[in-house]
């Protein structure tokens, strides 16, 4: 696959935006602007950016509580996401959800789901609806390898295959389900092999390599669109940071983290882009500056945001008025 300079810039910028957004989020968390749980995506950028760029605006996306990268790659405004994490009503979920529940209907972005594997059945249903309504769109569902142990994963895979629905399962295998390594959670560790049990096509790809993810996702989505059948794409990746802000990372060696950082998806892609003449140093600097400026605005927007009035507390419990 060959990318032109414009696409190269776009993809690189997206990854840098995610990386720096997550850095800013960590900073905002230590300043207590963001509270509760915060799960950062640093290191996994190639997966969100690669897959998202093979989806159309009509396709629906569901993700986990580590979804900032997916939301940003989808085009959800950084200020809207940051405000959401601040709890301000200008946030994409009106501040009601926080870091783990980013929703944007206009972007067909359905969360932000905090129960591991809890959104997989919902994704199957959305894909079933897409099929029944002949929308020609697909559904893309991100989850981690930890989720592949839950019953919901297995039920969803079976249903998706049985009903032949246009669903892309993207398993981001970052090797640790919170603090428990893959070897301690899966009898069969090659997640992609599980798909055969459900007669679903699968592929595993190096999730640290943006080009590899882009190519694999292009293949997978084309297959889904032409056959209407589900697909499992396993992206083997690594998160550079802890599971969440509460995690002391007792379960893995710092040396291992450093090893994986040598394969930083941003550095790798950037170096390849420079080597092939798709981008140069000044252009990269310009990208970084523009990202920093975007994030500055996002933070300022969030700090200036407003709190939802207390008398609105029960407003969104029911969609229909007059119910409490």
């Amino acid at each position: 696959m060959h990318l032109d300079p414009e696409t190269t810039r776009h993809l690189l910028r997206q990854m840098i935006l995610i990386r720096r957004f997550e850095d800013r989020s960590a900073e905002m968390y230590t300043k207590s602007n963001i509270r509760g749980f915060l799960h950062l995506y640093s290191g996994e950028e190639a997966v969100a950016v690669g897959v998202m760029n093979t989806l159309t605006t009509e396709d629906a996306i569901l993700s986990t509580y580590r979804e900032h990268g997916h939301a940003l790659a989808r085009g959800v405004d950084a200020g809207s996401i940051m405000s959401e994490m601040f709890g301000k009503q200008e946030g994409c979920s009106r501040g009601r959800g926080g870091s783990m529940h980013l929703f944007s209907k206009q972007h067909n972005f359905y969360g932000g789901n905090a129960i591991v594997a809890g959104h997989l059945p919902v994704a199957v249903g959305m894909a079933l609806a897409a099929k029944k309504l002949h929308t020609n769109s697909i559904v893309c569902c991100f989850f981690g390898e930890g989720a592949a142990a839950e019953g919901e994963f297995h039920e969803s895979m079976n249903l998706a295959a049985l009903w032949q629905v246009p669903l892309l399962f993207v398993c981001e295998n970052n090797r640790y389900a919170m603090g428990t390594a893959l070897a301690f959670t899966h009898a069969r560790m090659d997640i992609e092999a599980k798909a055969a049990a459900y007669c679903i096509d699968a592929e595993a790809v190096d999730g640290m390599d943006l080009m590899a993810v882009l190519e694999a996702s292009t293949r997978a989505t084309e297959k889904i669109r032409s056959t209407g059948r589900p697909f499992l794409l396993v992206c083997n990746t690594y998160r550079f940071r802890a599971h969440s802000m509460f995690d002391a990372e007792l379960y893995r060696d710092k040396a291992e983290v450093l090893e994986w950082k040598k394969r930083d998806p941003i550095t790798v892609f950037q170096q390849a882009a420079v080597s092939s003449g798709m981008i140069d140093g000044p252009a990269i600097k310009a990208l970084e500056d523009s990202v920093d400026e975007e994030l500055q605005r996002a933070v300022a927007f969030s700090e200036a945001g407003t709190w939802e009035p207390l008398d609105q507390l029960t407003k969104y419990t029911y969609a229909e008025g007059g119910r409490t």
Binding site: R94, P121, E155, N158, E320
Partner: protein
């Protein structure tokens, strides 16, 4: 018609009305429905609209939620409430919360029908009355079809809701013949209903206890006790107005349900009556509920586990005997 027939006509009504509607559940199609409610519907509407699903409660309930979010109008049938715990996460953490968590952007207008209740000697794991569990959850509309009219009209009403709806149906009533009220062509999903007006006591109930209470009221009328029977119909959100209007009129209340006594619908209503109509009461609110025991298999023990007509009559007459002492 039978309660079963009323449920079936409801399904046909909604399937005819809206092409986005489809039924999904275990054995709803080829088997003809576990309780024969959907018998013949597969032949009438086709496999696209009557979907047999594998034994994957979490999977297919979640799928129903997703399909509703994406513009279809699915009716998910969970064979009985007894299996619904497997789908509890989907119902509570997805259906009930999506609208709120998304700040009002997403709706999940899914209708989930569940058979429930005791009476066929099916023992502990197949006899649950878990209406209180579901009535506890904000974001859900919880309905109880305790009469033939509601068996016919609750589903069409539920299909118009934007919020997720749980409808409890009563397997012990399936074969029961009843006379339909021809003047009813629709019902609401918001109000309780006074099925029998009376002046001396408000018997507040739902589900499989409704007809038992009406029968008890009929018999007690001959003894000069004038009983008002209120069918809650909507277990969440509760219709305080109808309940309180009745209690303020009669000054006495007995709440009857098959569900286990502690932390039940009657616990909640008792509290609300105390909070809002304390000075209208001539006696404490009484409750006649399920005995707190996993439902036993032998008939005599099963029957003793929930309030029967005689128990309800006894609870009512006891109310007035106190006064005369």
């Amino acid at each position: 018609m039978t309660y079963r027939e009323a449920l079936k006509q409801a399904l046909r009504d909604v399937l005819n009305h809206d092409e986005r509607t489809f039924l999904m559940g275990e054995d709803v199609g080829r088997y003809g429905g576990a309780f024969a409610v959907s018998k013949g519907l597969l032949q009438e509407y086709g496999a696209d609209r009557i979907m047999d699903v594998p034994l994957s409660e979490s999977g297919f309930v979640g799928a129903g939620i997703g399909a509703a979010m994406a513009g279809m109008r699915p009716i998910v049938e969970v064979m009985t409430v007894n299996f619904s715990l497997l789908a509890m996460d989907q119902i509570v953490n997805n259906a009930a919360t999506l609208h709120h968590m998304s700040g009002g952007q997403i709706t999940a207008p899914v209708v989930i029908r569940m058979g429930c209740g005791i009476g066929r000697q099916l023992a502990a794991q197949h006899s649950h009355s878990w209406e209180p569990l579901y009535a506890h959850i904000p974001g859900l509309i919880v309905l109880s079809a305790g009469t033939h009219d509601d068996a016919r009209w609750m589903l069409p009403a539920a299909m118009k809701c934007q919020d997720p709806v749980i409808i409890f149906e009563y397997t012990s009533m399936l074969n029961l013949e009843g006379v339909m009220n021809e003047s009813i062509t629709s019902v609401d999903t918001r109000t309780a209903k006074v099925l029998r007006t009376g002046t001396m006591i408000s018997v507040i109930t739902y589900g499989s206890a409704v007809y038992k209470c009406l029968e008890a009221a009929e018999r007690l009328a001959k003894e000069g006790i004038d009983v008002e029977v209120v069918d809650l119909r909507v277990l969440r959100p509760l219709d305080d107005e109808t309940i309180l209007r009745s209690v303020r009129k009669t000054h006495r209340a007995l709440i009857v349900e098959d569900a286990w006594r502690s932390v039940s619908i009657s616990s909640e209503i008792s509290a609300r009556i105390m909070e809002q109509a304390f000075r209208d009461l001539h006696a404490p609110v009484q409750r006649s509920c399920g005995v707190e025991v996993p439902i036993p298999y032998p008939k005599h023990l099963e029957d003793a586990s929930v309030p029967q007509i005689a128990d309800i009559m006894s609870a009512i007459t006891k109310e007035f005997r106190h006064d005369r002492v």
